[in-house]
Amino acid sequence: MPGLNEISLRPGAPDQYWLLLPIVLLPALGALVNGLFGSRLKRDTIHTLACAMVFTSFALSVVAFLQLAALPHEARHLTYRAYEWFTVTLPAAFGSAQDYRIPIDVAFRLDPLAATMLLVVTGVGSLIHLYSTGYMAHDESPGRFFSYMNLFTFAMLVLVLGESLPVMFVGWEGVGLCSYLLIGFWFDKDENAKAGMKAFIVNRIGDLGFLVGIFLLALSLGVLSFPEMEQVAAHAPTQLTKPAFDLSFSLFGWDIAWRPAIATIAAICLFVGAAGKSAQLPLYVWLPDAMAGPTPVSALIHAATMVTAGVYMVARMHFLFVLTASGMAVVAVTGALTAVFAATIALTQNDIKKVLAYSTVSQLGYMFVAVGVGAHVTGVFHVVTHAFFKACLFLGAGSVIVAMHHRQDIREMGGLKALMPRTRWTFLAATLAIAGFPFTSGFFSKDAILWHALARDSGRYGILPPILLTLLLAGAALTAFYMFRLYFLVFGGESRADEDTLAHIKESPSSMTLPLVVLGALSIAAGLLNPEALHALGLNVPLTFEGWLAPGIEEGVPAVGIAEMRKPFELPLVGASSVIALAAMGFAWIWYRRGPSAEAERLAARVPGLYALVLDKWRIDELYEATIVRSLRWLARAGHEAIDKLLIDGIMVHGVAGAVNLTGRVVRLVQTGRVQVYAMAMALGTLGILYKLAVPSTDFEARVDGRSVTVNAAEGAGYEYRWDFDGDGRWDTQFGAERRAEHRYRKAGRHEVRLEVRNAFTRSVGEHEVVVRPGRRRR
């Protein structure tokens, strides 16, 4: 096995690419100014500042992107190393010979993958900032809102551009914090504050997995920056593929062997983190509740950018995931199950934002299937198209919500297509995209995921591709159905709003509709960046996106290839997914084009138990409440009783106070308040001191050491000492103030030591003791 030092891990001083610094720091500056002085600034100033920062960042990102694209593709990475943060020193472990020193630098790195996310984050972020100036126009604390939004952009850019896992983790936690702050932005309503806490706590569970994964990689690789880890994975994959531990044992004659590779454990740990941030089973529960935040927040954080961070991280760590077939299978299966599961819940929801939230969870599942089968480019492409159409959907929903006076129940809407034409057309465009209407962006990206789920050669799990494909096709049908149910219930048919509301419905201002138009256009057209499905039709269009990303991601590591034997299925699959999507849309049109459907109600009435279960989101929240939350509460209560109440309150506080109190009560008995009792005590005390001074006392200890004895007499005020060491009655020393004396005996045997002590009043007292000098030892 090659040692770590044989691989060039730390390239020489890299050329600093300064442009990354303002891209990252401008939003932070905006957050700082708006956060500190927002309450004193005028609303327009706040809006201008926040938008200017993000727009400038976006413009600089475009410049950086162009400069990156101008490089030859094997040199497409630009780094800015800000400063050395700290160095971790790890003892030799996991079979390595020497200690590791892992320098953690605050460094930003732009490569095609990061550049793609950078453009999405700053681009969509800019549009949503612009939209927010309209949506939040009447909010009471615009400074706080835009400060959080800018802070989120900053943290997301740190996450995307971070050169190493620790720096990425800083951004990861930063976006989590901003998510919490923005979900609970209207914290005066209790449920909003609770939703924020729920998001934060569920994310902590995932982050624990992420942290464990980082530690495991630090221990087994000795490096944490992405290019260095990729080098180790490429040149010394045994560092990652050797077993992390060996659990082999015999049970009733069955030999059970479990030796998971380090890569498998690390990949699953990292995926737990990704599942928390990207709302996958079983940690998805926070995302629907996160809709308590303002709608632009839902669009930016909980649809377009932050929740895709998990997918981005898995794509970033592709070199780790491709080394572990079982780790990838976990990712893909979790993604597929989430995609279908969330889609079933979305079928029955009546809150416009809840439908979109479950659809986000479902779409994130598609992305995880893609990165889980090794089609990282396809997964990231769906991240991009999803950012466009889901941001458009949420912003459209926000526009509707404003018009409906902050009512979100789709049963009270309907008939908005004539009243809000721009919102309607852009919403329709995005709905077509997410439903997979042929040749929209969502069609291309989702179809590519379906195709890769089937075609990628997923190692030893040969049965997996058909299962994944079945789940994803079912999810696609459900998606098309519930999205058009939503569209028809909101925009189609007759209005079901009360007259007062109906009279005030009007199209939103242009600051809100302009982003909608841009995003709606992108939802339709962005698919042309990577129209893989057209290849199946025999059209040889360039795959721009794949040409941009694939060299960095799918070269240099043992990628998971496309199985040749499944090639003939590509064209039928395109046809099948189109037909399924169109059929589901048609079904939704038949049922819902005139508003709430009687057929759907009859169907629900036929299986009331199942309908109630799905309407209650499969009661997963209640399940967690009954198992995890309640047991944690029990633990907390036990700790409260045992530690807080008993130990701290009972013993350390009340116990100490009680002891002092009791002592006080006893001692108080002495304090009679009669001056003559005190005088008596004083007189007696004086007498005692006088007695001690007048009458000497004595004590000494003798220590025999070979031939000599050392004596040491007790101390006293004004005492003088004299010694007789041999008990013959003659004093061997004169009176002197020295307490210590030493004497050598000529003969072995018993000797009596006598001491006389004289005090200042010339009273004296004697003391004696017998010591034994040992004889010469016989050789």
Partner: protein, 101 residues
Amino acid sequence: MITLGHYLVLSVAIFTVGTIGFVVRRNLLVVLMSIELQLNAVNLALVAANRFHPASHAGQVTAFFIIAIAAAEAAVGLAIVVSFFRLRHTVRTDEADRMRH
């Protein structure tokens, strides 16, 4: 011949009378008088010692200080007795326990 020892025995006797009086009598005025007895017993011991060891007159000087302090103490003590009498209409020491918790 009268030696220093005779003086000291007298001094100790007077001091003991003063101490016992201070501890057992309940009349504040008598208590103050007992204190004066104690101070004068000490003064007697000091001047007697000065008489037999006159080198630096330290005994005499200290005695003068004690006389001065005794005067001040008597003034303060009597003032306290007067204000205490105004408060409680008595000069008995066992009534003087208002400072007790």
